[in-house]
């Protein structure tokens, strides 16, 4: 760790992991509710568990991105962070606001929460993933702007590398598009149209820039490959992301009442959205193959390569499977969607944050390069357990989805929604069991931070 202020990231990462655990616990609650309908009812109804699960995901990923930025920007810019005190302050504000919001979801009825937080002054509640009270949303904007200011000033006073600039572009985009969460047209079609300006342009747009930049940073550090080569690839990848992803937003406009040409534009452009992910995979493996050094942090390299592969599979391949309008007509809003969503989020964004933590945490805790062999070994076990179980969760949900689509929509005598849910219950059981395996993996991951702390660092010879 070259700059003292990089240490700010540690706090953000700890919060991120904590919230990640919370997210998974609520995921397991919902998985159980799929098959035991009144599990924890009325204390934690399904819709509340869902809000907690999805909101925790977004918030912990944001903590992760901010931590990643606070770590890598000073190092890239070759100067200390502009205002570490501001980063600490924002951390606590974000954490407290986030915790309060989650408690709000759990402890009071949603309508009451709206009343308590004076939602009617500027109504922004009531939409998927954007359930936060307006005051929380305003808090998020303040935190995001302070964060951007801090990072921006750091880059301004230091070295402006491609990695820094792409990361900053992505983070700025993240903040800008979040503003659409405040825009609530009364016309339902327009409401949905702009909702995707937050969601799609985040995860299939600016977040990919963040992903690319962090991945580039990790590859530069662990492979020793020429920065210029890695940066050139980064440019191509983000160009492809934006070219395919911006008009690709149209694949969310097929059935909401927007003009028909979106079925064409959305299909054609979103069909090409896997390309940047494919390039990322080729690029990651290429860089590692051409490496000039064997970095002793094998776990970090594993996470980095894993991210590229899982992002390509989850976001790229599974996304492609249901992106064309004629297919989406049948699969829209089914378990196919859930399958894609889980693997895509895990592969692209969960894994890149974990990769960054894997790389930087040892350094922030005083190591020269990496953790002990014992710790890395446990961490790599956690990688495989979480990743393989996610693959299986996705496969089970895909199976459920195919059956659901056929029985509920495609067959000559379509069946009722609830009747079909009953018939695909086996897949839900399998998914839930696998979810517990995922939790074991996550537990191992957390434990890996505490084992082998006093053991010597792994060296290149040991980890060959």
């Amino acid at each position: 760790m070259k700059y003292e202020s990089q240490k700010v990231a540690k706090l953000y990462f700890i919060a991120a992991i904590g919230l990640f655990v919370g997210q998974i616990l609520f995921g397991l609650i919902m998985g159980a509710q799929y098959v035991i309908g009144d599990f924890l009812f009325p204390e934690i109804p399904f819709n509340v568990a869902r809000m907690v699960h999805t909101n925790l995901l977004i918030v912990w990923l944001l903590f992760g991105f901010m931590g990643a930025a606070y770590y890598l920007v000073p190092e890239e810019a070759e100067t200390e962070l502009f205002a570490p005190w501001l980063a600490y302050l924002m951390f606590w504000i974000f954490l407290v606001a986030g915790a309060a919001t989650i408690l709000g979801y759990l402890l009071v009825p949603y309508a009451t929460l709206a009343e308590l937080t004076m939602n009617d002054l500027l109504p922004t509640m009531g939409r998927e993933f954007l359930e936060q009270p307006t005051i929380t949303k305003i808090g998020i904007v303040i935190v995001a702007l302070s964060f951007l200011f801090n990072i921006g000033m750091t880059i301004l006073k230091g070295r402006k590398t491609v990695v820094n600039l792409v990361l900053l572009m992505g983070l700025t985009g993240l903040a800008v598009f979040f503003l659409f969460a405040f825009y609530n047209p009364t016309n339902l079609v327009m409401d949905k149209y702009y909702w995707w300006w937050v969601v799609h342009l985040w995860v299939e747009g600016v977040w990919e820039l963040i992903l690319g930049a962090i991945l580039a940073f990790i590859l530069i550090k662990t492979t020793g490959v020429d920065r210029e080569v890695i940066e050139k690839w980064l440019y191509i990848i983000i160009a492809m992301t934006l070219i395919t992803g911006i008009i690709g937003t149209g694949h969310h406009y097929y059935w909401i009442g927007a003009p028909e040409f979106w079925q064409w534009f959305g299909s054609i452009f979103s069909a090409m959205e896997p390309i940047p992910f494919f390039m990322m995979t080729v690029y990651a493996f290429n860089m590692v193959n051409k490496r000039r050094r064997n970095h002793p942090n094998k776990a970090a390299v594993l996470w980095a390569l894993g991210t590229a592969v899982m992002a390509f599979l989850g976001a790229g391949v599974w996304g492609f499977l249901h992106t064309l309008a004629p297919v989406n007509y049948y699969t829209h809003g089914t378990q196919i969607t859930a399958a894609h969503g889980h693997m895509a989020f895990y592969g692209a964004y969960v894994m890149i944050v974990l990769a960054m933590i894997s790389y930087s945490m040892p350094l922030m805790r005083g190591r020269e390069a990496c953790n002990s062999a014992r710790s890395q070994s446990m961490e790599m076990w956690s990688f495989w357990l979480m990743t393989i179980s996610m693959v299986f969760i996705t496969l089970f949900l895909t199976g459920a989805g195919i059956l659901q689509v056929y029985l509920q929509r495609f067959s000559d005598n379509p069946m009722d929604f609830m009747v079909v849910q009953d018939k695909i219950a086996l897949f839900y059981w399998l998914r839930e069991i696998t979810g517990f395996v995922f939790l074991i993996g996550l537990t191992l991951y957390v434990v890996s931070f505490f084992v082998g702390k006093n053991d010597p660092e792994a060296t290149v010879e040991l980890s060959k």
Binding site: Y235, A239, I243, P259, E260, F261, I268, F269, M272
Partner: protein, 190 residues
């Protein structure tokens, strides 16, 4: 040098060729989708194709081909270390680009004033989408050529180092290449 010796890499920066491949993929998909959609609406496509201005398309095709030819001459000029000449050829190419944009704009003006838009029918949806998509690439290509032209005028290139010129030229030729397929496909084949 052995005249039979070939280069391993295409002219210009390799990055632009990655980009060119991506663009060709996008257009290729678009063209194919047009052709297959047409197969389901032959009457419609044949009927409305006749409302397109083939003469305007002729001028546009000639303009783009000429423009590409000028770009080839520009590259030759800089390979012989003649920055000034390179700049002049590029200006000519840009002028041809302006001709293309002007004629295309007139075509659009005609259609729009008759109330044609993306929702009118499937043929027009494709016609407008394809040509507007291409139009935007002509603009981008012209921006690139302008940047190259300015640098050439300032003496930024030489016979030894003119990768930028070849890079911009390659992109422009791609824009022309795409039109070579678009013009017959949309305006003529029936």
């Amino acid at each position: 040098m052995n005249p039979m010796e070939k280069n391993k890499w295409p002219p210009g920066d390799l990055v632009i060729w990655i980009f060119i491949m991506a663009e060709l993929l996008a257009f290729g998909v678009f063209f194919s989708v047009y052709a297959f959609t047409r197969a389901n609406h032959v009457e419609l496509f044949n009927t409305y194709q006749l409302t397109l201005d083939r003469n305007a398309a002729l001028i546009n095709t000639l303009a783009l081909i000429t423009s590409s030819y000028f770009v080839v001459r520009a590259v030759s000029a800089i390979r012989k270390d003649n920055s000034k000449r390179c700049f002049h050829w590029l200006l000519g190419a840009l002028f041809m680009g302006v001709v293309f944009l002007a004629v295309k704009s007139m075509e659009y003006n005609h259609h729009f004033s008759h109330g044609v838009n993306l929702n009118t029918n499937t043929f027009y949806m494709f016609y407008l989408s394809l040509t507007v998509f291409h139009f935007l690439h002509v603009i981008l290509g012209m921006i690139i050529l302008s940047a190259v032209a300015l640098k050439a005028r300032a003496g930024g290139y030489s016979a030894q180092e003119h990768t930028g010129v070849e890079t911009g030229a390659s992109y422009w030729h791609m824009v022309d290449l795409v039109w070579m397929v678009l013009f017959p496909l949309v305006y003529v084949m029936r």
